[in-house]
Symmetry: C2
């Protein structure tokens, strides 16, 4: 990729992860969970990022900065600590501003900290391809995952014409579609022209900052203290910036408005591991097949269940299928996998009911 341009990988780890209760908690959020295998989702994300980047950055909340930084072995200067939660547009703007101060030609890849990707090598190859397009064409690239089922939990991207022979695989984006209903989701999957919006982005720092200035002027203004701080954004500068920052996702704030958005359709397995059901799929739970990610499943006559138990505590399931059984020692969840997307509402209700220490 001459001329040499560094890809900075920004890991966004500021989410609440309410849909993974009770395994995920405010103090121990989803990116820190070892859900599949020996690595936490955060560690696996960083490992994947190192496949195409030597410059890792982490954006996270102050309560998680220490354990997350420790987990990744990052220098303090590479950890951008958000004083409050302002959704992804602000996190993206903060990272791009900070990186531009160090490397004005930087390419920035944005990676959610809690996704699961099956093929790290193919992923790195696609990220490099997206990076070339982002640099050479000055576009915002969003990775689009070929949908394998009419999922109503994801946003969709309608892809348009090919970006041209210089950018193999890349396509223009016709439009973004928010989470559709089941009938529309089925139509999208059948049509073949729609992709899942995975929330993985590649752009240059210069391009995204320009687009923020155009489409989110309030956010641009809020970032002024960070711009002024250059390579050393103090806690006070961040506090001033966050006090004024709007709370919006980068998707609705910029991507849906920008005229220069491309997508790179990818075919490797991807999941946002956003629900117990999604995790069950990744873990290989299916009809008749259960999986205990931890704990000691001593009996399960039907199968098709996901178990997340306690070490040394036997679990017996009788006559049940399609359930997630999650025992964290201090809380217990039993949910039908199909209904596990309502968990977020349950956790919010618990918070509202004053059961804040459970969440």
């Amino acid at each position: 990729m001459p001329p040499r341009t560094r890809i900075h990988a920004v890991i966004l780890a500021g989410g609440a992860g309410e849909r993974f209760w009770p395994a995920s908690r405010r103090r121990h959020p989803k990116p820190l969970l070892r859900v599949l295998g020996d690595r936490s989702l955060l560690e696996a994300t960083a490992l994947r990022a190192r496949g195409f980047s030597d410059d890792l950055w982490l954006v996270c909340g102050s309560e998680h900065a220490a354990p997350m930084r420790r987990a990744l072995g990052l220098p303090a200067a590479r950890v951008l600590v958000e004083p409050s939660r302002r959704n992804t547009a602000m996190a993206v703007g903060l990272a791009a501003t900070r990186i531009a101060a160090e490397d004005p030609d930087a390419i920035v890849a944005v990676l959610p900290a809690d996704h699961h990707i099956s093929d790290s090598r193919a992923f790195a190859r696609d990220m490099r391809r997206a990076a070339r397009a982002a640099r050479d064409a000055g576009v915002l690239v969003t990775l689009g995952v070929s949908p394998t089922r009419p999922d109503t939990g994801y946003g969709y991207i309608q892809s348009g014409t090919a970006a041209g022979p210089r950018y193999p695989g890349l396509r223009k984006v016709r439009r973004f579609v928010e989470k559709p209903d089941a009938a529309r989701a089925r139509r999208y999957v059948r049509s073949g022209g729609y992709l899942w919006n995975a929330g993985i982005f590649v752009w240059t720092a210069a391009t995204i900052l320009e687009e923020i200035r155009t489409h989110m002027p309030g956010l641009h203004r809020a970032l002024a203290p960070v711009r002024a701080a250059g390579r050393r954004p103090t806690r006070a500068a961040l506090a001033r910036a966050y006090a004024r920052a709007p709370s919006a996702p980068i998707d609705t704030g910029v991507m849906e408005k920008s005229r220069r958005v491309w997508t790179l359709p990818v075919t490797w397995g991807w999941s946002d591991v956003g629900t117990w059901q999604a995790l069950a799929e990744e873990a290989g739970v299916g009809p008749g097949a259960s999986r205990a990610l931890r704990g000691d499943l001593v009996h399960d006559d039907r199968g098709g269940n996901l178990v997340w138990g306690q070490a040394g505590k036997p679990i017996a399931l009788i006559g049940v299928e399609g359930l997630a059984v999650v025992d964290t020692g201090d809380a217990l969840l039993v949910t039908r996998l199909e209904d596990s997307d309502t968990l977020r509402d349950v956790v919010r209700a618990l918070k509202q009911a004053g059961l804040d220490d459970l969440t």
Copy 2:
């Protein structure tokens, strides 16, 4: 009931209670559980027995003798400790032999330690009525519960002709039927001539010992060391007796063979609380209505679930109904209530698999 005859109430607490795992364990069997209300099933049984008897006896295994005796406040002489488990015929024979040594005219009421009865006053009235018949007609009386559903988990009694005007309510027994299949159970309930065999018996010590001698001569012979020991059956005498005793229920050993068996049909609510499903019914679990007997059920959108949790540990149920969720801290069971009668097999399989310390 002149002439004055004492009713001795014998509480049988030697069962394994495998169908209540993981709440019931070898060290903490079902009679010691506080399943409904503040009293253990054993304590509730004793309280009911005191409604018609001043002479309580307890038959139990050696590992439970101390806590059970403590729970009931019985003198040591009233606790008959079985050196090994030999089913109910031996327990009944032991108790009758011991009681006869003290009170040759004794009437003996046999009460399982782990049943639930809704109306203690009506129960005591019926026990006295059965006792009169047992004494005056020299019969074995078994209480028959009017079936409220075609349960396939109970044995049935086909009742015959009325016992006569001197014994209001009592009927002769035509035959005993072992647990029927669903079709036969429905026929029995429809016919009106069948009763559940509750395992609650009344007889004189003399009558039951005679019938044991006739129908279970091996058991009669095994009881010889106990007979010889009179009012002080030593541990050695019991050991000799139990070493020779056959293992059989009193139902098949004597009741099904004897020609002098009557039944007293009763109408109060009765349950052997033999499964999580049976407990759920007693606890008022029904369509849409859940019940947490312990623990903190913070969310349950469908209802119809029975929860047995841990104090201070929140439990959330999403999209599930008709389940029992039992968390004892050191083990976890999730079972469809309808399938909870298979739990016994599960626990046996655990034992066979060498997971003996779980049971």
